[in-house]
Structures are given as C-alpha cells and as structure tokens.
C-alpha cells in the first residue's frame, strides 16, 4: 500500500478526515489543560505531610474578642495537656499543618542569593509533637527558645528547615550551621539552620505545588502571651479516642470561662482536618474527572461514527482491494494507519491550541504556565484513543467480502 494512494484518498474525501482532525485537536487542547489543572489540585493531596497524622490532635482556635492569654496561662495549659493520660507530647503553637486560621509567613534568602517564601510553625517541642523525621542536625535545645514576639535580636534565630528548602537555598554542601537572611530586613541578624527534617507540608495548601509543598520552617520560638491559642497534641495511637475525650474535657475546663462561646475551638485529629481542608479540592477533582471522561467519550464516539460511515462509503473500494489480494490484516492496518495520520495532524493542531488556551487563561486568571511535558501526554492519549475508536469500524471493513467488488457495476 503506497502512501500516495492513502493521501489521495484522504484528500479527495476531505470532509470526514477534516472533522475527525478538528475533534482530535479540540479534545487534545481541552484534555491538556484539564489534566494540568488536575495535577495542580492533586499535588498538595499527594504530598507527604511529614507529621504523625494518626496520632496528632489539633486544637484550634481558642479565641476571645475581649481578652488575650498571658504567658503563664499558656504554659499552665500546655503542661496540663502533657499530663493527660494517653498524651505523649503537647505544644502551644501558632501556625499548624492543615490549620488555616493563622498563617505565619517567612521569606528566606540563602547564601547564594536564592529567595523563597515559606510558611512557619512556631511552638515549643514541635519536632517531637508533630512526629517529624530529622535527617540532619538536631532538634532545638531548650535554652534556644525565645518567646514569640520578643524582638531582642542579637544572635540569629535557630531554625529547622525541610529537605526541599535545603536543596533550594543551600544547593551545595551541608545545610546545618548555615545562615539564612530575611531579604526585607537588612539589619536583622537572620536565621541559623540547626536541623533538617525530611518532610513538613505547609499550611498554605494552594501554594503546595511544583515542589513547594515542603516550604515550611520551624523556628526556635515558643508561645508567650497570645491572642488566639492553638495546641498540637500527640497521643498514644492505642488510646486515640480516650485521649481525644481527655483533651476535649481539659480544654473545656480550662478555657470555657474565657473563650468566646460563638466560635468554640475545634478539637479533632489531623486526619479529620486533612479531609476538611481538601474538601473543595476533591470537589474540583470530581468536576475535572467528569469533564475529562465526557471529552473522551464524546471524542471516541465521534471518531467511531465518522469512520464507520467512511467504511460504509468505501465498501466497494475495500472489496476491490480484497479482490486484488489484500488480506484482512491489510485492511485493518489501512484504517489504523489512516487514523494515525489524521490524529497526528489533529494532535499537532491541538497542541498549539492547548498552548494558546493556557496563555489566555494565564492572562486572565492566576494560573501557572502549562509545562511542555503535558503536550506529549495529551498527544499520546489522543493517539491511543484514536486507535481504540477506529478498531471496530476497521474490523467491520475487514469483513467486507471480495465479491462486493463485482456487484452493482
């Protein structure tokens, strides 16, 4: 079978191939963009949290419009929580994973001048309470902690960073002991890295994409006087429910008289918070999945329908080919290759279209640029779909007996 014969068939009956091409191009453009959006939503959900989520209870947020809590009150509550049965560690904290009521944001500049924006978690003994895995350096020493809000700067503030941050800020060499600076405050003594943890998911979940999921820092600060109080409590996994009850009744005993009754603190396990935090993300994913599925179904049906008609129209041509010695396999191959040709052209147009759409969306909405790698993914997907869709009409074509060549002439 010569390529020229095939091209001339496509050219002479150009309406059907053109419509298939157009469908493939549109579907490819939509799928590339939707898959990209899906990946943007999925990344924070797939990122490892780094914390012992199953054992972690979060209390957030004890607040009052009329008063704040003194350092002594905070410490009493923290120690009270630590003494509860089933509790292994407890920290008063500001900024906690999956907690969106308070965000702590920091900017760091590495020795090589790289600047990144990260979320921070602050509290006494958070490495132990959150169950983080240290891969280099050490935890903060008790003497290193300063009271949050104290500005008696002198020595750099000790910090524990994540591996992802270390790779970004200090790409060459050992991160422990290095100095990081605040690009906005030239007079600030900066921060000294004392330890590196493997993972710690940031609480600004919308930013947890493109390798920035672990942009989280722990600083050697503890909560002193506080306007809104949050606690992280790590419990014995075998006593989860009992410990949750203990923590609840303790918080009520301790704070019911002082906290606002109309916005009571939420006391629940990390897993539950995670579920709630990703609720809208999940809804969006379902929507995108629905869109992708509809696009795929519509495209497959469209290609099947059009090719089916084409086979019917070319029955006599197929008969002649068969009569001249073409085998069934040759006929099937003819249609598969024809489809491949059309789809490749469609994908080429579709990639341009996908890129254009993304540029348009980027211009109007806060969307990142579509990486090049999505274009071939969409293309390969379309090629597979095209071949799949054309299979049944091609088989039908292969069943055309050679005898039809002689009929009705």
């Amino acid at each position: 079978m010569s390529w020229r014969a095939m091209f001339s068939t496509l050219y002479r009956h150009s309406l059907m191939p053109l419509l298939v091409l157009l469908q493939v191009a549109l579907a490819c453009a939509i799928l590339c963009n939707v898959l990209f959006l899906v990946w943007q939503k999925m990344q924070p959900m797939l990122a490892p949290s780094g914390v012992a989520g199953h054992e972690l209870i979060l209390v957030d947020q004890i607040s009052s419009t009329t008063r704040s809590w003194s350092a002594a009150e905070v410490q009493t509550a923290e120690e009270g929580l630590r003494r509860l049965p089933g509790v292994r560690a407890a920290s008063a904290a500001t900024g906690l994973p999956m907690v969106l009521t308070t965000l702590m944001i920091f900017e760091f500049k590495g020795p090589s001048g790289v600047k990144i924006g990260v979320n921070g978690y602050i509290g006494d003994g958070l490495v132990k309470t959150l169950g983080l895995q240290l891969v280099a350096g050490r935890d903060f020493l008790p003497a290193e902690y300063r009271e949050y809000g104290d500005t008696n700067a002198g020595a750099p503030l000790p910090v524990i960073i994540t591996q992802a941050m270390a790779n970004q800020l200090i790409p060459d060499g050992q991160p422990v002991g290095k100095l990081l600076s605040d690009p906005n405050e030239s007079t600030d003594p900066g921060y000294r890295v004392v330890g590196v943890v493997r993972h710690l998911l940031r609480n600004q979940l919308g930013m947890a994409t493109d390798g920035k999921a672990d942009y989280t820092v722990l600083t050697a600060q503890k909560i002193g006087k506080a306007d809104g109080l949050s606690f992280a409590v790590r419990v014995d996994p075998s006593m989860r429910e009992a410990a949750l009850g203990e923590v609840r009744s303790f918080i009520h005993r301790q704070f019911d008289s002082t906290m606002d009754s109309h916005s009571p603190a939420r006391i629940s396990f990390y897993d539950e918070r995670r579920d709630a935090a990703f609720k809208s993300q999940r809804a969006a994913l379902w929507l995108f999945a629905g869109v992708s599925l509809s696009v795929v179904i519509v495209t497959v049906i469209g290609i099947m329908g059009l090719t089916g008609f084409w086979v019917q129209k070319r029955t006599r041509q197929i008969g002649i080919r068969r009569a001249l010695g073409a085998r069934r396999g040759d006929i099937i191959r003819l249609f598969l290759v024809e489809n491949l040709l059309i789809v490749v052209m469609g994908v080429a147009v579709g990639m341009l279209l996908a890129f254009g759409c993304n540029l348009l969306l980027m211009h109007y909405y806060e969307l990142p640029r579509l990486p090049w790698s999505y274009l071939p993914i969409g293309g390969v997907l379309m090629l597979l779909l095209g071949q799949l869709a054309v299979l049944s009409p091609a088989m039908r074509a292969a069943r055309v007996p050679p005898i039809v060549a002689t009929r009705s002439l």
């Binding site: 309406l15 419009t65 944001i105 809208s280 509809s294 519509v298 469209g302 329908g305 019917q312």
Partner: protein, 446 residues
C-alpha cells in the same frame, strides 16, 4: 415550505434512530454543561439592587494615621490582603454631617443574640447591620409595618431597631411587632419598624462579612451609635491609627480604626464629580497625615459595579468553568456536525432524486439546516433536566455562593436560543455538503 421541510427533517431523523439518538445526547450533554456554568455566572453577576445600584457609590478617604501597609511580603507568599475600603468613625461623622450627597450612610455588620422583652424567645448570633437613618430609603429596604428611624434619633443614639418579618415571627409569634421591645446583646431596643427579609446578592454594601450567601442576611437594623452603646462591635477593621494597638480578633477601637463602609447616593455625573472633589479636599485638610508618608490625598468613589469588580467577587473558577464548558460544547458541536454529515451523505441518492425532480440547492440546504436544528432543539429539551441536575450538584457543594445556582426565566430562554443557534451552526457544513450532491451521478448509480 417550512412545514414541508420540517416534515422531511422529522422523517430523516427517524431513518437512522441510532445516530440521531447519539447526536441528540451529545448536544444535550454539551448544552447542559454550558448552561449549568452560565447559569451560575449569571446569578453571580446579576445587579444586586436593580434601579438603585446605578446611583450608589462607595466613598473612601485614606485618613488612617499609620504608615501604608507593606504588601510586598504577602505578594511573595501568594496572599492577597483584602481591604474593604472602610473609614474611621470620626471621618464618617464629618462626611455625614456635611450632607454633600443626595443621601449618605455609614454601616458595619455586627452579630448579637436577640431575644424578646422578657427573654422567653432567644435567637443566637443574628446578623445585625449598624447603620444610619438613610440606609433604609437609600438601599430600598421594604418596610412592612412602622417606620425607620430619623436623623435625630441617630444623633441621640436612640436604641431603636428595625427587624425583619422572620425574626419578628420567631421572637413574638407575629409580624406585628412595632412598639415591642427586643433585647439585643442584653440591652433593650424598641422595635419601630418591621421589614421584609432583605438579602441582595451579592452583599455588596459590606463585602467584609460575606459576598454571596443563601443563608446569611441581616435581620436587625439599628443606629450604629446605639449598637456601640450596647457593647457590640464590628469585626476586624481595615487598619488602625498607630496610636492604638489592634490585636487580631479583638474588637476594633471605634475612634481610631477603619470599620465603617461609607455609601452615598449620587444621581448625576456632575454630582459624582463634585463629590469626588469634596472628598479630595476633605483629605487634604487632614494636615497630620503627611507625617505618615501619605502626602497625596487618597480617595475613592466607586459605583457598585466598579466596586464589585475591584473586590473580584465572582470567583475565578466560576469563569474558568464557563470556559471549560464552552470548549466542551464546541467539541460536541464538531462531533454532531460529523454525525449529521455522515447521516446526510448516506441519503445522497435520495437528495439526487429530489434535485433531479426540481428541488433547488437552496431548498436542500434549508431542509438539512432545519433537520440539524431539530436535533439540537430536542437536545436542548433534554438538556433542561440535565442542567437542573448540574445545578443541584453545584448547590450540594457548600462554597457559600453555590446555593444561588438556579435557572431563572432568562437563562431558561437562553438555553433554547443557544440550542437553536448551535443547531444552525452545526447544520451549516453538513447541509452545504448535502446540497452539493450532483443529481446526475446519484440517480445513475442508484
């Protein structure tokens, strides 16, 4: 002729029921997706107060005695700081006292427990609008009974209240609640008016509290002076003078923090221009501001639609979904055009005979466009329940605004106009192809 074409179209559709069904279903799917997203966008971009909002303007003067906020850090962290362009109480009082607009009011949302006089019925955490006497006439709150308060009562900080029918019913078991006493935040207020429920969408006059909501609305209106006297306070302010320290979550200092939204009614462009001039002049008089790096008078006078645009009240993903659904509809259209082209070409013989018997190309073309339109209108009918289903799914997501997703008569008509337009567009190519059939060739081979 149309009837004949229509009959031919129906006949044609019955010929290959499988491909007809497929085409109808595809169109229905595309239309339903588009209509679902369009209906939500339409509800969210509707005029909150038709007939009134064209004359309402939010006025803002930057007189807070503090250094301008450094937003660079937040930008890097991907956080947009919302500022709702509110002003401090002393400024509000000065502007109110000057009476330079047709009507003017200052307002802020608060929340309080409300009970009847003897404390028998209690409604917790009611949304309450602390405002001034002009609010009710200016924003078109419909009074059922009684009256709204006067400027004198504002000045006297008189504890009077206008409550809505639902709250009156809950507290007193009747909507005739005028002259009764309600206890708001444990302080007695006299009910002087009962209003119909008031919930414009979006909640444009105080976006700091919420923008779209099917459940939240203010059920109590009181003079803001009286509200402060009763110990209530606004939520987080936009900014405070450096002379006070504002703790996050704490009640804002009414004198030194920007917590009041200031709205004016201006009926002509000339009034708008002169009011803007007045505001600029007002800020320029505040000599002390220069010390805070605010050398140039910053004022704003924004119409309702400008204001809503500035605050970006319609979430980006609502628009994004419209784009997505629109491109899906386009795909469906190409698909149906293909299905119809195949269908029409199958009857080339029949078309040849019609042409041979004297039908013009034009009439063949019309016949097939009508057939395509019939397919799409049937698809539109089918899309209606699908759209309802789509909207119902949207309402199930509690994004705050999604419970407004409904199909109004305009969108209902829009669905069928869209279906028809899609039908004609989709029909053009296949119909042209069908009308290009050469009669001689077809008759010979048939």
């Amino acid at each position: 002729m149309f009837r004949y074409n229509f009959k031919l179209a129906l006949h044609g559709l019955r010929r290959f029921p499988k491909s007809t069904t497929l085409a109808v279903l595809t169109v229905a799917l595309g239309l339903a997706a588009s209509m679902t997203t369009l209906a939500l966008l339409h509800m969210l971009s509707a005029d909150p107060l038709p007939g009134r909002s064209d004359h309402l303007y939010l006025a803002w003067v930057d007189t807070v005695q503090a250094k301008p906020f450094n937003t660079e850090v937040f930008k890097m962290a991907g956080i947009t700081i919302s500022s709702y362009d509110r002003i401090r109480m002393p400024d509000a009082e000065a502007l109110l006292g000057a009476h330079r607009a047709m009507r003017q009011t200052a307002l802020a949302d608060m929340s309080a427990d409300v009970e009847d006089g003897n404390g028998a019925h209690r409604q917790k955490d009611q949304n309450l609008l602390a405002t001034t006497s002009d609010f009710v006439p200016m924003f078109g709150v419909a009074l059922r009974y009684g009256r709204s308060w006067s400027a004198t009562e504002d000045a006297d900080r008189r504890p009077v209240a206008v409550i809505d029918e639902n709250l009156a019913q809950q507290l007193f078991g009747t909507t005739h609640a005028v002259d009764r006493v309600v206890r708001i935040n444990n302080k007695p207020f006299q009910v002087i008016g009962v209003s119909a429920a008031y919930a414009p969408q979006p909640h444009f006059y105080e976006l700091a509290s919420w923008s779209f909501s099917g459940s939240e609305h203010e059920s109590v209106f009181v003079p803001y002076g009286a509200a402060l006297d009763a110990g209530m306070s606004a939520y987080g302010p936009d900014g405070c003078d450096d002379s006070v320290t504002q703790k996050p979550g704490a009640a804002p200092d009414p004198q030194h923090c920007a917590w009041l939204s200031y709205w004016v009614q201006l009926d002509t462009p000339a009034q708008v221009a002169s009011y803007r001039e007045y505001l600029t002049h007002y800020v320029e008089q505040q000599k002390s501001l220069a010390g805070f790096g605010k050398k140039i008078a910053k004022v704003e006078l924004l119409g309702v639609s400008q204001w809503l645009e500035k605050q970006n009240v319609i979430p980006d993903n609502v628009r994004l979904n419209v784009w997505m659904a629109g491109s899906f509809l386009l795909l469906c259209m190409v698909n149906v055009a293909g299905l119809l082209a195949a269908k029409f070409m199958r009857r080339s013989g029949e078309i040849g005979i019609r042409r041979a018997l004297g039908a013009t190309r034009g009439s063949i073309f019309t016949q097939h466009v009508i057939e395509a339109s019939v397919v799409c209108v049937i698809g539109g009918v089918l899309a209606l329940p699908l759209t309802m289903l789509g909207l119902k799914i949207l309402r199930l997501q509690d994004d705050g605004f999604t419970d407004l997703a409904k199909l109004d008569p305009l969108m209902f008509t829009g669905l069928f106009v869209l279906a028809l337009a899609v039908g004609v567009l989709v029909g053009l190519l296949p119909a042209w192809r069908a009308s290009a059939v050469e009669p001689g060739l077809q008759v010979k081979s048939a």
